[in-house]
Symmetry: D2
Subunit: 352 residues, 4 copies
Amino acid sequence: MMDKKIPVAVLAATGSVGQRFIQLLDNHPWFEVTALTASDRSAGQLYGDACHWVLPDAMPEWAAKMKVLPTAPESTDAPIVFSALPADTARDAEPLFAQAGKAVFSNASAYRREPDVSILMPEINADQAAIVDIQRKKRGWKGFIVTNSNCTSAGMAVTLKALNDQFKVKRVFAVSLQALSGAGYPGVPSMDIIDNVVPFIGGEEEKLEWESRKMLGRVQGESIQPLDFAVSAHCNRVAVTDGHVVCLSVETESKVSVEEAINCLQSYQAPEVSRDLPFAPKPVIVVRSEKDRPQPRLDRMTGKGMATVVGRVRPDPLFGLKMIVLSHNTIRGAAGGSIYNAELLVNLGKIV
Amino acid sequence: MMDKKIPVAVLAATGSVGQRFIQLLDNHPWFEVTALTASDRSAGQLYGDACHWVLPDAMPEWAAKMKVLPTAPESTDAPIVFSALPADTARDAEPLFAQAGKAVFSNASAYRREPDVSILMPEINADQAAIVDIQRKKRGWKGFIVTNSNCTSAGMAVTLKALNDQFKVKRVFAVSLQALSGAGYPGVPSMDIIDNVVPFIGGEEEKLEWESRKMLGRVQGESIQPLDFAVSAHCNRVAVTDGHVVCLSVETESKVSVEEAINCLQSYQAPEVSRDLPFAPKPVIVVRSEKDRPQPRLDRMTGKGMATVVGRVRPDPLFGLKMIVLSHNTIRGAAGGSIYNAELLVNLGKIV
Amino acid sequence: MMDKKIPVAVLAATGSVGQRFIQLLDNHPWFEVTALTASDRSAGQLYGDACHWVLPDAMPEWAAKMKVLPTAPESTDAPIVFSALPADTARDAEPLFAQAGKAVFSNASAYRREPDVSILMPEINADQAAIVDIQRKKRGWKGFIVTNSNCTSAGMAVTLKALNDQFKVKRVFAVSLQALSGAGYPGVPSMDIIDNVVPFIGGEEEKLEWESRKMLGRVQGESIQPLDFAVSAHCNRVAVTDGHVVCLSVETESKVSVEEAINCLQSYQAPEVSRDLPFAPKPVIVVRSEKDRPQPRLDRMTGKGMATVVGRVRPDPLFGLKMIVLSHNTIRGAAGGSIYNAELLVNLGKIV
Amino acid sequence: MMDKKIPVAVLAATGSVGQRFIQLLDNHPWFEVTALTASDRSAGQLYGDACHWVLPDAMPEWAAKMKVLPTAPESTDAPIVFSALPADTARDAEPLFAQAGKAVFSNASAYRREPDVSILMPEINADQAAIVDIQRKKRGWKGFIVTNSNCTSAGMAVTLKALNDQFKVKRVFAVSLQALSGAGYPGVPSMDIIDNVVPFIGGEEEKLEWESRKMLGRVQGESIQPLDFAVSAHCNRVAVTDGHVVCLSVETESKVSVEEAINCLQSYQAPEVSRDLPFAPKPVIVVRSEKDRPQPRLDRMTGKGMATVVGRVRPDPLFGLKMIVLSHNTIRGAAGGSIYNAELLVNLGKIV
């Protein structure tokens, strides 16, 4: 617990990811929400009136009473800004906050492909945080932008990082079964998913095939150099509220047995600088030994929704190793991930 | 329409696959159901009383009035027997029927691995029907056993057959999203699947990795020689009533473009001997061009549930080709498949 | 089959009810679709391009090739118009068609409360069809408007009509469990209904409490006089694609046993003029004797989706009789109902 | 927190209700689980091996390491026994524990109808606890049996109690939409409930029509005299994991406005002796003002699953008042209810 909490703002606070930010920041030991923004339609109203709250736990009372502000740097003095903006709005709005000296922790995909922007996951690539100094300098910003991973890439990237450290990953097949909350609200129409599967999610396969390579990459010179391995992805939407499942087949450079893989995953540790932060999952990876786990309904809240859960580690006739990976898409894969990122940057002294 | 219909019996007629047989045989142009069998507990009752009917269309009236018989060759004079027996019972019971001169069309997995038993799909391997003569001779049976494919392998085998004919298949990644009806009744508990995915189906991955190779194989000497290619499978259960989806990545020997693959699939034709049978799907493969199809709820009844539906044919960064395959698991992948098999054997004059 | 089919138009043909009209009119023995209209955004395109088809059976080919027209009387010569317009658009547009001499069969609620407009269900109130002459005269129209019932009221009104004929209905409790398709497309967001129930549907309880009284009413002078009985309704949305369930408790003036009620329902017949029309359900009411039926997935297609299915007829400790009523909300309760209405008006010679 | 925790045993600990007992007793301030029993098949194994855990949160470690004991009084010294036994086993087994001096808190329906056994809900009928002295004397037991309410009756009984105190309840219509967990595990087959509603739950309507009258009754002489009002119930199973919804129409002797009813519900307080116990919900009833609440997924965990949530309080054209009631069926309506009962009996000094 800090002496004095750091003020933070949540951009696009009325949407489903914005709501998760508010829920997860409730009683955060370091941060205190002092500003909520939304589109012009909602600005001026009380958050309790403007927001159609869709999460199981009730809206925190402090949030209900806050006035919704316009999404502009002038709205807040907070040095930290969590952005739940949609990608198209984020593209224009987030740089304004960075320019104004804010540390922007973004859930949007808008800047993930920029070479000087990190897709940060403190348990695997804390060293990429160094890129914010380059970004500041290059772009002339007082603040910076850090993004979190795509919701589906998160668990997969953690799993591949652990395996890559010991066995070097070469090729990966990944088939996702993704939860409905990943599409936001109103998102997927119910008539499309009851008694059904939708074997398509716009742009998702491209993200999965590319993002994990950048997340496992390193800062080289002024940009982040992706790690060199190849991914093929199929993405499906299924009738699950929260929790993305990925079926993973992994080819490694060194030969690896099932036992070695399990040991490697179970013993994986976050870098020291990330290990004891409030939102750090401990352990980072939980390996289940049952024949039919992980399952979204039963396992998504493992480690308060921040852990990566792996199961059914077994031989793959083509690539050597097969397994199932689960992570909570709106906690580890969205709002929780950004909060963990902010904790890391505070810990590194990058936020004034 | 035949002059006189051929009498057929359905074994284990009260279960969910048995019910599908009865539904699909209702008004069949060649076959007439003259006997229904079930376990001793049900034998002696009227079928309408003994059976907890779980299909949307009502039980045919002729079936409701039939008396359920014990599962024994003496129960029926019918030369054709459709077996919906569970694998363990099938192992002992089906040979008795074959010995007694019946043509047994089995939905059970019990004999699929025997080298002299075909996993028959008339649209792809009608030539394997020849094995019944070898089987008769070797085993001293007057009748024979023909099995249908595993419900998940069916659509995949058809797709791979078409591609293999033109481009030779080398390696395949297959991830299934399987419907609940595949587990029979009562099958999967609802608490296991509402808001959930179960990433495990006992024995299914092994079947998928092996069966399609045998289905694409040929009779050589006294046995069926599997085709030589490699498959890696992950199998998942999802909250869908009927219709199995398979995400497929395929590596072929000859280079193939998306357009060539689509043409190849669309123009695929069943062997002439199978092409005009009552249950023959026409076309065998329907290729959808929408970005998000096939989907189980919308596409499973394509070709009265006998067609293989393929969509999202696109490049795969690792194996060259990716696509989605859907087929109806209790029609093409179970009862309908066995009926089509029987039609083929009648057409070949193998049934006296 | 008629010598020459009557041309018909479908208004708002691209929406989910419009799609049902097209599906049900495919191969209709009397009607031939000659015009499809939609909003200005879609007008000019081919129907196959403009429409995001969401029904399980494929779009009829003839429809795919038709050009979508603007929703205006000038768009078509057809004397019969099926309207799938939303209520607000229907209010302005439907009278224009009626004025232009068209017989408008509307699925919208816009005119249901007008005293000179019938909520027509040929199996129970064919005599109300006479109101179209009064309507023409009063409003100076060459054509007329006939509406179908609200999707939830339909099965309940049929059931109450049969009981009222013999025992006179006094008071009714009705609790609905309504399917998702009733909300159109995109309709209910999936996050609102997976693992959930929504105990509210805007305006629905008021409709249920009022419409059935009008449907059981009679033409008196220049208006339809509702029957005098009282209804209390609760309406819920559940995770079902098609088929509305209503739990019904009924108090009658004459005492009635369960057996008498079952006989009354089973023997109910449509008025002679409606009995043999192409879309007439035969029987009108199917009474199931199982302890746990009707169920939406198993029973909604009874009588091609036009029958009312009743089950669990049993004593009610407060009102005398309890039962479960099921009817298909987008067939009997929407498009199919309007087609049946048009058949009746043709049969009565009211359409030139 | 007590100086020394009271040892408790859980009977039938491996089933789904038994699991809830273990989950809810984890870190209980007064109770410590010292014995777990199950059927002979499981006895002797470690609980972690014998139990197929189906709850989202992981099995507590202390439970996993306990040895499963036979279900017999000799198995434990604990003075308090929580019974998750099925009704038929409970009938024989629970009296043996009571005779041996145990305070048996039962979730089974076996003894609910006995005039000297209370269906106890501390927030509404704490005075019924006095019946245990009569029971002991009459039956010659050293211990006693107290039952909790049926899962569906719980929320309804709380609501009716509050209304009855001020306005006297006369007649009630109740239609339930019940969750799957109420049927235990494996319980409802998934094929019966996906895209479906089952409008029947064996014995449930009778329980609903009778139990709430006993719960609102009083000890008179040697038995509990039910309150005199009439209930009509319809019970439905829907595709929801946890949380029973009841649509309620209530007729009261005194006229009551919607505002008065809301005030009455919101201000309802548990008797003083029950008010501050660890499992006491505060407030007892939460009234939601949104037009579409309560909903199971969003509201079932209100008050840690122990509160009764009421919404949509509105006029009823027949009975005066309509509303929606939600309560968590396996917490307030099962294991949590029994724990609250045990707390009350401890507080009353009835447990040595």
